[in-house]
């Protein structure tokens, strides 16, 4: 079970301000059934003073989505729209005494709905982002939103971005793009090494063969020995040593050190070297 705070459980069990406002003049709707959560926020704003007189919500989502929406309505009631527009997702999470990291996207959804409702009141059209800028096609997250959330919450890793925006949590196809955005914002210093694309079996076998021929065998031959590639089974590489190396007590160490390290570096970190019997 999730470790929810007492405040989250309270706002989930007894949500405040549930329902529609029939004459709302600021309505914001975010999320969808496919995404697994959605929030519709209704605001009644005094057109003279710009003060939020009433806030209500409807939501489809988990306990933290319900609690975040309830908290949001409690927070913004009585605020001016200028004050409300400064509310961040972190403020919502803090109001609830914190949310589990994996549930932070619920607070982000609250802030997005607030933004949309204020824009609706002001008569601004929230520009529908072009398809081209959508980074995560599973949860329909665009680049602009990703950049905003990364900067605002000082996110450093892809995992954090997924927890806050869901982006990257579906098929994973956009993970390289998320890394690009993170590197872009946090400077070129990559927090995680950019993964090389997975090779096909054929490509891997070819690269292993080439690496042994051009990089490993010459070193052994210089000492009067040689290496023979016997078989490749997935990431297990079977080799035999000949000449000066064979039977040498240092043979095993040589294998481990030179062959495995070189192949791990050049081909794949999961490679294991096995000395072929017979």
């Amino acid at each position: 079970m999730w470790d929810y705070t007492k405040s989250v459980m309270d706002h989930f069990s007894n949500p405040r301000n549930v329902g529609k406002i029939e004459n709302a003049n600021g309505v914001g709707e975010v999320g969808s059934l496919a995404c697994g959560d959605a929030l519709k926020l209704y605001l009644k704003i005094d057109p003279e003073t710009g003060k939020i007189e009433e806030a209500r919500f409807q939501t489809f989502g988990c306990a933290s989505a319900i609690a975040s929406a309830s908290a949001l309505t409690e927070m913004v009631k009585g605020m001016s729209i200028e004050e409300a527009s400064k509310v961040t997702n972190d403020d919502i999470a803090r109001f609830l005494g914190g949310l589990p990291e994996q549930k932070m996207h619920c607070s982000v959804m609250g802030r997005e709905a607030l933004e949309a409702a204020i824009a609706n009141f002001k008569g601004e059209e929230i520009a529908e982002h072009e398809d081209a800028t959508v980074i995560c096609k599973c949860f329909w997250v665009d680049e602009q939103k990703l950049r905003e959330v990364v900067i605002e919450n000082k996110l450093k890793t892809v995992e954090e971005v997924t927890h806050y925006t869901k982006a990257g949590g579906g098929c994973g196809g956009c993970v390289p793009d998320i890394k690009r955005i993170l590197n872009d914002i946090n400077g070129t210093k990559a927090d995680e090494p950019v993964e090389k694309p997975r090779m096909t079996n054929l490509q891997r076998i070819k690269l292993i063969t080439e690496t042994i021929e051009t990089k490993i065998a010459p070193i052994l031959r210089a000492d009067g020995g040689d290496i023979e590639l016997v078989d490749i089974d997935g990431y297990d590489v079977y080799v035999k040593l000949h000449g000066a190396c064979a039977g040498c007590s240092g043979a095993k160490a040589t294998l481990q050190k030179i062959v495995q390290e070189t192949l791990r570096k050049e081909v794949d970190p999961d490679i294991s070297i096995i000395e072929a019997s017979k």
Partner: protein
């Protein structure tokens, strides 16, 4: 609350331990501490009980005692069956399973594809969770070494026709493993009749404490040991026997054999009462799984417009334990792989709840559930932007 109850409807996750099982186990935590392999009376007395437990497990499956290997859990049985078969039959490189297997099978297959160079076919299912047997037959090639298809699905309860699937595998010369963790004890499993080579079962789904399972290995099946060491279990699974739990599993299998008629009838009636009661009281609800060809204890219902975690937490506050295929309950962002493979629409995949009963479920508890669940669904729908009471 004056009528507060604890109603456990999550028996496909784990079950209440049977008092008879606990009682049978207790002496083996105390005086009967001997090692069954020892050449003295301390061990000998214990060995007799282990022999008797093995016979009881075999009897439930209509198998021979020497075909039963005790393991630590269902997951170990699955890993042993799959990896042991591949090790003993290294010449073939294609393996076949379904998209709706438990992770104890599916993730092993995916590991073998990624790390060991195996070609893996994952067969899909239709909207009721059924396999297409023609597709299955076509998937088995001369290079196929192993087919692993579960007997009953843990989420939807849908049963696979293990007899027909086993016959196809046999015809094609493919070793057939079935993860029967959810089926054993709930429906009759007769291994003299079923063409199954390897079968996994788990104790805690049969009312033992957690920590015991078994693997059935049909005589003559080529399989390598999974844990190597001493000669225990005829060298097929080394390690000093987990005696109290083996005794517990024997007792549980004996009880299952006596109860299987009740399980098939009384529990099915209670499940049907729960399901028809909920379906008649709650609109926009859908049964996930094959409604006829299904485990007698399982009901998986998708409630439109609401989300599973919120349902579970409200039910939990009312004393009812169930589980959900919603994304939020697992910590992942996608609904369960089983519901996705069944192409359950997003409108109710996120709001799917699994109720699973056991022989300890009472009619009183079902009445309480029927009274408690509809208002919870309504409360959440009342706050959902997608729910329109007029429709």
């Amino acid at each position: 609350m004056t009528d507060f109850k604890q109603v456990y409807l999550d028996n496909n996750a784990t079950c209440k331990t049977s008092p008879g099982v606990v009682e049978a186990m207790l002496p083996f935590f105390g005086d009967l501490y001997g090692n069954p392999s020892s050449m003295h009376s301390f061990g000998g007395r214990v060995a007799e009980h282990v022999i008797s437990a093995r016979a009881k497990v075999a009897a439930l499956l209509n198998a021979s005692p020497e075909e039963i290997v005790f393991t630590s859990c269902g997951t170990e049985s699955d890993n042993h069956a799959i990896r042991g078969t591949l090790e003993a039959n290294p010449e073939k490189k294609h393996i076949v399973t379904s998209k709706v297997e438990h992770p104890a099978v599916l993730n092993v297959f995916r590991f073998l594809a990624k790390r060991k160079g195996y070609r893996v076919t994952e067969l899909g299912v239709n909207k009721q969770g059924d396999l297409n047997l023609e597709e299955l037959k076509a998937a088995l090639t001369p290079d196929t070494v192993l087919l692993s298809i579960m007997a009953a699905n843990n989420e939807s309860g849908t049963l696979f026709p293990i007899d027909e699937i086993g016959a196809i595998a046999r015809e094609k010369g493919v070793i057939f493993h079935t993860d029967a963790v959810q089926a054993v004890g709930k429906i009759p499993v007769d291994l003299k009749k079923l063409p199954v080579d390897l079968l996994s079962l788990s104790g805690h789904k049969l009312h033992t404490p957690k920590g015991i399972g078994a693997l059935y290995i049909r005589k003559g099946t080529r399989i390598s040991p999974f844990i190597i060491g001493g000669h225990q279990e005829h060298g097929r699974r080394a390690g000093t026997e987990n005696v109290p739990y083996i005794i517990g599993l024997g007792q549980a299998c004996e009880e299952a054999m006596n109860d299987i008629f009740e399980e098939n009838n009384r529990v099915r009636k209670l499940r049907d009462k729960l399901e028809t009661g909920l379906m008649s009281q709650i609109s926009h609800a859908h049964i996930n799984g094959n409604p006829q060809w299904r485990l007698p204890n399982t009901s998986n219902i998708g409630f439109e417009f609401i989300e599973g975690e919120a349902i579970l937490l409200h039910l939990s506050a009312a004393g009812i334990a169930a589980s959900s295929g919603s994304a939020c309950t697992s910590g992942s962002l996608e609904p369960s792989h089983v519901l996705m493979a069944m192409q359950v629409p997003f409108t109710y995949a996120h709001g799917s709840v699994r109720f699973s009963l056991s022989k300890f479920t009472t009619e009183d508890e079902i009445d309480y559930a029927l009274k408690t669940i509809p208002p919870v669904v309504q409360k959440l729908r009342d706050m959902s932007p997608f729910y329109d009471p007029k429709k």
